[in-house]
Symmetry: C2
Subunit: 107 residues, 2 copies
DNA sequence: CGTATTACTACGTTAAACGGAGTATACCCA
DNA sequence: TGGGTATACTCCGTTTAACGTAGTAATACG
């Protein structure tokens, strides 16, 4: 299955936040979820590095460890931040596509 | 005017390509355009570094220099690439927002 | 005629993306 | 029962590119 490709415009942080918006989950599950919904594979360095940063920024918080899994959930500020980012992204994408539609034939 | 904020999820490359989708323009004009439509300020290092990379990737090409300005335009492959990226971005953003809507109240 | 704006170049620093390697536990199945 | 696979990470090194500062030079303006 070919999912849409976000290329280098795929800040792992947002992918992780979007994954946690679906439901709270631990690192490995985030990795699989991101891979399946965005077609982006995050290696361990990228994934856990980004998770640590998101936690220190207060956008996600750890839940009790269960069976060597450390699940995380979005905080209120993580939800707000994600919403803001996604809204901006959606506006930007639709504006860009509009530009392509208008100018595309005439380039 | 408060524009939407793309934060760190704002690969300068895509912003530049989207700017050129509006019309061909030179570096400084791209900088101003990106600032006005995306609210993102690109410093010279970021801007011209990204432009050089986009050119070497064949996504943009230089037009004849006029009055110490070096304008660029999208190539066909740049248009295709931008379209693909923006479509993916739009899907991703709307999927993420949907997840927030569904799970948001229940987190 | 000097100050601001335009349009860059050049360079250095830093953050973080990325991947390889390794560890350890649990699960399956022959 | 023990060997392979999946899970769930940690650790660490390399590379990339984002970002800013400084500087240059030309044109505009007032």
């Amino acid at each position: 299955m070919e999912t849409f490709n976000l290329g280098r415009f795929s800040d792992p942080s947002i992918l992780i936040l979007a994954s946690l918006a679906g439901s709270s989950k631990h690192g490995y599950a985030i990795m699989e979820d991101v891979e399946s919904f965005a077609g982006v594979h995050l290696g361990p360095g990228t994934l856990y590095g980004a998770i640590a940063r998101l936690e220190s920024q207060g956008f996600i918080e750890p839940l009790p460890v269960e069976e060597r899994r450390r699940p995380y959930r979005l905080t209120a500020s993580g939800i707000a931040f994600l919403h803001e980012q996604l809204s901006g992204l959606e506006s930007f994408a639709s504006m860009g596509l509009q530009r392509l539609r208008l100018a595309g034939p005439g380039l």
